[in-house]
Symmetry: C3
Subunit: 287 residues, 3 copies
């Protein structure tokens, strides 16, 4: 009898506690801030697996954080706790939210970073995090990543029900931010924006494959043209290498959105593009 | 009988070996140096948990390393091994030190990086690391991070008593560096320096809350003014968001020291500040 | 009976599954790409240990990747899976290779990154990775790191025989790139190149200790001189600290190759050196 329980204890403790904690912050990796959060996490849950999604968001980059978490979380196993600390309001009366969706838990300040996560119907419990039993003591006014997010996230990763963290919060009360969405210009054209530029200089827009399919559906044309500043690109390529080196192309990128790229080159520099610039997609009649 | 031992073996090996190793280096993350250290650590202790505190110290940044380790280590669980490799003297006759304090172990070159760690009375064993049984073989002249610090740290994380690493070293013999400390200008004023600037542009000084309380205690005034170059700030704020965006403020930061910041802005750029510049705090009479 | 099996199950599953996955990419750490790969890896193998060797290769830096993996892999434990994603041809018909060597497994696009790994005689199985049972579904055209490399690497780390991934590939068919090698100028001199410059500004050449021993062997001289642009350095130093601060020196670095460095300074800036520049070593007669 004893042995069986002990067995189960080892096995269950070991496997259950092995959940993943992902981190998205604007702390950078020059300073000790992200490392300290990990120290706190391991103090609470020595079996956690911590994944840095990024610490290099631009400071106070709430929109960027909203995109990064939305395009990342579903590649993590169920049970993952995602901690997002982009928090210019730290220490003020902004709330901290714990939210369940599709077996993932999100822990973030209530400043709009969860806007895209809220954009569908699988939202479970939403809690306002207030129970200081799970915080470091004392809590500083300037580093809640260390004092609240890290220990609370670690407790959740050990199996704590988020309902123990504070009162429920109505989903409608969560702060949302305006995320630029493409405009339908006509049945044949849609206008979006460059919403981020990655390390390769690829220009990532907010125009989805779905948006492009829509204008193709309503048009007799079956080709598209992509226009960004003085750049005109004809049609979508299957991959970066499908044009000659240093030549521009458009692809549906790994996030599912239209990207403008240069094969083995940097579209940002070669095309002189900036974040926020508009990008138009329109159908063209075959000649 | 056999089974019981086997049980215990799994459990103890698993739980004991799960200790944390933190890394502070100036290796950067462009090159393979930090990754190779981790390969060596896992070869010795496959159950280690490795936390990067930072690899982006300025090259040979001994003072910066001294601050980073002092403000980080106590957020890690007891038993953590902290490896600090900022080591311009690598391969020379500088010693390598293993030092115990409050159930943490520090492994570092004897060049002053442990100066702040030595600043209180809980120092345990101090060892000069010389026992090459725990080194890679051969030991290079230029990369002791890989050849000595990584394998020795991994052995300690598996439970090796640091006394097996070499002869004891008198605490007084450890090299210390001059860390700039604030000067008491009068009963009403203290003068310190900007000792680091973080990714957000926050100006972190060496003036502690304690220093400020001291001048308030001896003064009839109950307000302070902070002066840095042409910048004058009245009083301490509770958090960054307690002034309007782009406005300057002073707070006690997460390290426990006075910081000058700009809400949702970069104090370094906006105030034109440099590391090393002096910062004065003085009491002011209420008008 | 049952218990014994269960025991063994826990123990074997736990210890076997604990293998290491190393990552070398040009994804940077600004974007979520590397973090997403880790999410996918942990979804397949929750017990994996992931080590970032570097994500900061220059974009499409195939030669640099070839050096980094060759100088890193042997510091990792046997059984490590090394994933290298520097892949400008992603989505084209370039193959993906899984290759065994000395109990390590390498997973990389067939674009030359494994050139230096192929340079000796311990190559085991070589497989063309084609079995989509181990891929994410669907596979995108632009992010095989996420859709193929991460899940395949994770399955290998759980013990999957690489022969299940696709047909064998002849070693001769693997794409190799020209890696610059030193030229023997005479019995007394060898000419190489600066092949990388690390974060410290150290100039790392492709001239090995072996090359230098060769010219010393055939010469009556027993001293060497190193010439790079206008810089002349007499003899090899034992370590960086063996000359005065800010003075130039030459050492055999941690990769086993000749490096030109400046003690506590940056040789790249001080000597005005560039990657690719030639470096000559010749014997000199004692005067």
């Amino acid at each position: 009898m004893y042995r069986r329980n002990f067995f189960e204890y080892i096995a269950s403790d070991f496997y259950n506690a092995m959940s993943i904690i992902s981190l998205i912050t604007d702390f950078g990796t020059e300073d000790e801030y992200a490392g300290i959060m990990k120290g706190v996490i391991y103090t609470v849950n020595p079996s956690a697996r911590i994944v840095d999604i990024t610490h290099n968001l631009e400071p106070q980059g709430i929109i960027q954080a909203a995109y990064v978490i939305a395009s990342s979380y579903h590649y993590f196993p169920p049970g993952t706790v995602h901690i997002i600390v982009v928090d210019p309001g730290v220490g003020s009366n902004r709330a901290i939210i714990a939210l369940e969706k599709n077996d993932h838990v999100f822990l973030a300040p209530d400043n709009g970073v969860l806007t895209l996560i809220l954009k569908d119907d699988h939202i479970g419990a939403v809690i306002r995090v207030e129970n200081s039993d799970f915080f470091l003591n004392p809590v500083s006014r300037t580093f809640h990543g260390r004092d609240i997010f890290a220990p609370v996230g670690a407790h959740i990763s050990k199996g704590l029900n988020i309902k123990k963290l504070g009162p429920p919060l109505s989903r409608d009360k969560i702060k949302q931010i305006d995320i630029p969405v493409p405009k339908i210009l006509s049945k044949y054209a849609v206008m979006g924006n460059i919403i981020s530029i990655d390390r390769f200089g690829n220009l990532i827009t907010n125009i989805s494959l779905h948006d492009i399919e829509n204008i193709l559906k309503t048009s007799s044309a079956n080709k598209i043209e992509i226009i960004a500043g003085k750049t005109r690109i004809s049609g979508l390529s299957m991959n970066y290498a499908s044009v000659r080196p240093q030549q521009q192309l458009a692809v549906i990128g790994s996030r599912g959105y239209l990207e403008i790229a240069v094969n083995r080159g940097n579209a940002k520099y070669i095309l002189g593009a900036q974040k926020g610039e508009s990008v138009k997609v329109r159908t063209v009649k075959p000649e």
